[in-house]
Each structure stands twice: as structure tokens, then as C-alpha cells.
Amino acid sequence: MRNLVFLIFFIVFATQGQTKMTTEEASALKLKAQAFAKDTESIFSDFTQYKHLDFLDNDIKSTGKLAFKAPDLVKWAYETPFSYAIIFRDNKIFINDEGRKSDIDIGRNKMFKQLNNLIVSSVKGDMFDDEKFVIDYYKLENASLVHFKPKDEKLAKFIKAFHITFNEAADVVEVKMIESSQDYTKIVFTNKVLNQPIDDTVFKP
């Protein structure tokens, strides 16, 4: 019986960890996050990526550095367990795979273009577009969680939902991309430095 009481308490407590926001709370967060994104001229951050596949015993962990410069320069540089950099610049993707360089022209590929825009907006935390997503807002302890479900069927086939966690200042601390199979990629940002000058050479392929 004591166990049952404990279990009920646990369930009530656990579900309270993530409660839906009221309409007022949701629009307040949206305004705050949009203002924060608008003021973000540059980001320099460490990141840890966890690739979760249901059938694996452990998530695949990789770490690296992210650089962003407004309006749309992005560089993901993986450092462990392999060296790999991907730069989004001028409608192109530049890749440096352990010294082997290549590039992809995304100008004509609608899907790539869409993904590129999503990466930029998710890093900045500015994805509040009701026409493109079904958006749900949740409260966490000292943070907020927003679920963005793409309305575009083609995109939804790729990514069923983006779950973005904002800290109290409405800055993005975690991005989780969930596939239709429930497998996901989670990126956690640490040591984030905002609005410090970043030289364009950082984004040079």
C-alpha cells in the first residue's frame, strides 16, 4: 500500500514536471524568444549531440563547436569522435570531412533550403511560425519547452517534431529533432557566448 501511495505521488510529481502553458504564458514566451533572437547577432557555443536509436544500448555522442553570424552563416564543427565541419553559406553547404572538402549547391533543392532555414531558426530559437508548425508550449522547472510539429508533409516525413528548450532568458539551450520512427537527435548547447564579433573567415570553407 505504501508503495502504491509512493507510486501515485511519483506519477503526479513526474507529470507536473512538464505542464502546458496558458495562452498568456505562451504568447509572453514567444515575444521574449523572438526579441532575443532578433538581438542575436552572433553565437559561439560548444555542443554535445546525442543520436538516439531505439535499438542501440547507448546514444551515439559527439561534441563540437557551433558558430553563427546573422543573418544566415552557420558552422557546425564536430571535434570528437571525428573531425567534420559543415558550413551553411550563400545557398551552399561546404563540408570538410577529415580534410576532404566538398560542397553542395542547395539553391535549387527546396528540401535542403527548408532544412537550412530550419537549422538557422532553431539555433536562434525563432521558429514561431503558426503557418508552418503546430506549436505547443510547456513549462519546465526554470525553463520552457516548445514543440514545433511541421505541417509540410514532406518535411514531417523527415522530422516529426522539433522540441526546443529555452532557459529563463528565452535563449535556446537544447534542440531535439524527432523522426517519425521516434528515434531522435538531441543537441545540448553549453558555454554559449552571444554577440561577440566573429570574423567571416570562421565560415570560410
Binding site: 535499438f55 544500448d57 551515439i60 557546425w76 570531412d97 576532404r100
Partner: protein, 201 residues
């Protein structure tokens, strides 16, 4: 006419000499079963950084193999950023494409990958014949009606798929420790396709 036909038959026979003959293998009397241990541990997640060269184009990604159960493997390929490119299941003789990017959903490509991956994960092999070459044992076996030659027993260092006496696909395994091949290369000779795998976990 008869002379011409006989000559053609002789030429055909010569051009289709067996791989052991062409390589001058010495036949030996060793018909023990053969075990490929490289993806055989259910407790291990096998994760590799992959580099694929197809017709002068180079792609990178993460190659993942998990043994779910006896004769049951999952093989997944993702981009470095985590997006799934393909997801295959091999469950006994059944093969299933769980998902594949639309652009890669081509029967020929799936078939090539299916054959290669099946060779990587097939553990127990019945030998059809055995040979000696440069002091190492070579076992001949058949997977899905294709001939394969396994070089080295402990550890296995090379697999050759042959047709008409010629190597069509060569798998090489190196940097081997604790039953894991940390470096695997798959090179096709009939199509421009090459895959390099480097263990990262």
C-alpha cells in the same frame, strides 16, 4: 564451324577459370565451419564513421550495426548531423527496408548495399572448399548463390566476392582487436563504388 565452336568453348572455359585457379591456391582438406565475429556481439553497438565514393562523388556519414538477436541485425546509415539515410533489417532470411531517403530509393543500389551488408553480418559459414595461399587459409563459401573467399581464420582479414575467376568485391579488415575490425574497406571492381569504415566507439 565445329572447330570454331570448340575454340569458342575453350576460350569461354579459359576466361571463366575459377578464382582459386587464377590465384594459384593450393587445395587443402579442411572443411570446418567458418565464423565471422566482427558484428556478432549482442551487447555491443557497432558505430563507424563512413566514407562512400560513388562515381567520383564522396559522401560521409555514420554507419551503425546492431545484432538484435541470433541471425537478426539492424544496419543504419545516418548523416553526421544525425539524419537517417537508410535503415535495413536482416532477420534470418528476411530482408526489410525500414526507411530510405527518396533520392536513394533505387532497386539496384539497395541490392548492392544489401549484398555487402549481408556479407559483413553473416557469422556462420559452411565451407564449400578450402585452400592455402601465402601460408594463410582461404575458405570458399556461398552467400545468396554468389561465391566468396574468406582469407585468414584468426583473424579474418579479407573477403573476396568473385565471378568468372575475377574479384568483383573485396572487403578488407584491419586494426583488429577484441573481435572488432576498427578499419573496414569495401571496394567494388565492376562498379565505381568504395566504402571506408572507421570505428568510433
Amino acid at each position: 564451324m565445329i572447330r570454331f565452336l570448340s575454340l569458342s568453348l575453350v576460350l569461354l572455359f579459359v576466361s571463366c577459370a575459377s578464382y582459386p585457379e587464377k590465384q594459384q591456391f593450393q587445395s587443402i582438406n579442411d572443411q570446418a565451419d567458418f565464423h565471422n565475429v566482427y558484428f556478432s556481439n549482442v551487447e555491443k553497438d557497432y558505430v563507424y564513421k563512413a566514407s562512400i565514393e560513388v562515381y567520383d562523388k564522396v559522401f560521409g556519414g555514420i554507419f551503425i550495426v546492431k545484432k538484435i538477436d541470433d541471425l537478426h541485425h539492424r544496419v543504419v546509415f545516418t548523416t553526421e548531423m544525425g539524419n537517417k539515410i537508410l535503415d535495413f533489417s536482416f532477420d534470418k532470411e528476411a530482408f526489410k527496408v525500414n526507411s530510405i531517403l527518396e533520392a536513394l530509393d533505387k532497386k539496384i543500389l539497395i541490392n548492392v548495399l544489401k549484398k555487402d551488408f549481408k556479407v559483413l553480418i553473416t557469422e556462420n559459414l559452411k565451407l564449400k572448399a578450402a585452400f592455402k595461399s601465402d601460408k594463410q587459409t582461404v575458405g570458399q563459401t556461398v552467400i545468396d548463390s554468389d561465391d566468396y573467399f574468406y582469407f585468414g581464420t584468426n583473424p579474418l582479414n579479407k573477403i573476396v566476392k568473385s565471378k568468372c575467376g575475377k574479384a568483383q568485391v573485396v572487403f578488407t579488415f584491419s586494426e583488429i582487436s577484441n573481435n572488432i575490425a576498427h578499419n573496414i574497406n569495401i571496394q567494388h571492381f565492376n562498379i565505381k563504388f568504395k566504402m571506408g569504415l572507421k570505428s568510433i566507439n
